[in-house]
Symmetry: C2
Subunit: 349 residues, 2 copies
């Protein structure tokens, strides 16, 4: 078998994130070493990238190509700019490469909104999916759970959340290696009747679907391990994600301050530092690297804006895993299986 | 001056919360000792309360009266039950005592939804307020911030959030002792254009109001101290609150487990335990005791369902503070000042 034919093709947005292009290229260097079964297309302003490629010794790497993109979508710019004023941005070029079939996946630690806009328009959604959703992996007491949507859709209709449930189920099967993932609905109050005008009809619909639906789940129960997949609209899902990040950071800083107040505490903390390192790795977003934007026709992995090289390398790993697992094929198949039920349920809204 | 005339009158729901009536009565005992300037009416099934009153030696306390309530609203029951099948519940009786003017404040570590329903119907909202909102106090890097609404209204219109901003401003002035509280709007993305169909019009409206509006604030930035008051709909506000509670609990449990894995770590943790205690007290919801339901015609303090005696005592302190500060008078005055602007803004929606 000719190896080059079977290689996975992945585009990497060199200009995405707060530490671009340095952190992206350093992460890509690690990925080139770790994943020889992938070909990479680095997308960005080629005039600016050369220096970094030489620095990391990958300028002539056989598995690396360059693709020029003139502009960059800044974090403060509106999402639609990737399709209007900055049609030549690195994000838009990545989506275009995936549209043409040059790559199967794209990885960007960039502007979530711009990535959603560009891939929705250029790559389209899978049949049966109206809106793509971001699937984040978070720790709970005994393992991890998948939060979907973690921030792609600030406004959702009930039908969107039903589709998120089916996509989340498939993604959890391979991410968490669980045969029959427990699906929970993010709500206020764990009881069946609790919720908002958005979640109440979704609760009814999910109860009627051929999935392992465990009912309403509050975010504190999700941290206790109440479900494998937590379904949410992108606004409250994003609040959950960012509250977790913010609090974890804050608690660490408070503890450090409290420890420094006294020498015995400093000594004690030195003895027990292994425990702190274990805790830190539980929360380490860099381990996961990036969240897939599920429902796009193609693989799109979105990294944190503050991605470091490790996070970039692991986001690339996530793209590779999604290709190998044939994630979209499986999602499409599951949607097809549930098509009749979903159509029935959606007609209710 | 006759002291009895000036005493503050507070109703306490003996049947609310997971550890009722024991924890409530123990907390009340402490409050009777600490706050001799208050008269208390303990509301619950009097036949069941006697034993506890004797146990804590307060059966004949001059500042304590009993008021009978036949039933209890269980946490799993729907909110409206306090007004329908359980019109004789301790929650409904507390609201009735406040309606008749027998008490100025009520304290309950009970069912938030049932308390909102009962007080809305029996006590009504302040003029200019359509919906009451729960104001929770949370820690940030340098102090605390007020989250409003923390869970009373799962569904909100833009006009509700404008009213929450004015109530939160007044509450923060005395809770945080800040002359000109910084008001932030909970959103996804800190930039001006980011948000949902609910938050975008609120952003515009708050920008036009005579308040210290600092724009969109993400929950991680709130933990960094980006604002003194964080405005949210009750659904995402509740997600923020419960994510914080869940994560703080989970992080503690993970750390304990990691420490126990090795004897040196256990020794180290013993040396540095003062630091852990400091961190724990930062997060200690019992210190605050209860969150006021702002906008009700009367003072209503809602405690956590798992309130212990310390939390009950501090929830009573919060009720006493709200009376002494003349919170509702100040909120009404502020609403009156901003009446023209708010009416203008609300007409936009």
């Amino acid at each position: 078998m000719d190896q080059s034919e079977t290689k996975m093709q992945i585009a990497v947005d060199a200009m995405g994130g707060d530490y671009a292009p340095g952190a992206v290229i350093e992460g890509l260097t690690r990925a080139l070493y770790d994943f020889p079964d992938c070909d990479f297309t680095l997308v960005g302003n080629t005039a600016k990238l050369g220096l970094y490629l030489h620095k990391y010794g990958i300028a002539d790497h056989p598995n690396l190509k360059l693709h020029h993109a003139e502009s960059v979508v800044e974090m403060s710019e509106p999402s639609a700019i990737s399709l209007r004023a900055k049609k030549d941005s690195s994000i838009t070029e990545c989506a275009r490469l995936m549209k043409s079939g040059s790559v199967e996946a794209l990885v960007s630690p960039g502007h979530t909104g711009a990535l959603v806009a560009a891939t929705k328009v250029l790559n389209r959604t899978l049949p049966g999916i109206d809106r793509p959703a971001l699937a984040a992996s978070l720790p709970h007491r005994h393992g991890r759970f998948i939060l979907i949507d973690a921030g792609a859709n600030p406004d959702c209709r009930p039908g969107n959340l039903i589709q998120f449930a089916l996509m989340g189920e498939i993604y959890a099967k391979y991410m968490l290696n669980t045969a029959n993932p427990r699906i929970g609905l993010l709500s206020v109050g764990g009881e069946d009747g609790k919720g908002s005008s958005l979640t109440k009809p979704v609760f009814k619909a999910l109860s009627d679907m051929p999935i392992n639906f465990v009912g309403n789940v509050e975010s504190n129960s999700a941290y206790e391990g109440a479900c494998d997949v937590l379904i949410a609209d992108g606004f409250s899902g994003n609040v959950l994600l960012k509250t977790s990040e913010g609090l974890a950071k804050m608690a660490t800083s408070w503890l450090k301050k409290a420890i420094k107040r006294n020498a015995l505490r400093v000594l004690g903390a030195m003895f027990s530092q292994g425990a702190f390192k274990e805790l830190k790795s539980t929360f380490d977003a860099d381990e996961v690297g990036g969240a897939p934007l599920l429902g796009i026709n193609g693989v799109c992995i979105i990294g944190h804006g503050s991605s470091n090289p490790k996070a970039v390398r692991n986001a690339i790993r996530a793209a590779r895993d999604a290709i190998r697992f044939r994630m979209n094929e499986r999602i499409s198949q599951r949607l097809q299986e549930c098509k009749a039920t979903v159509a029935d349920l959606e007609s209710m809204f």
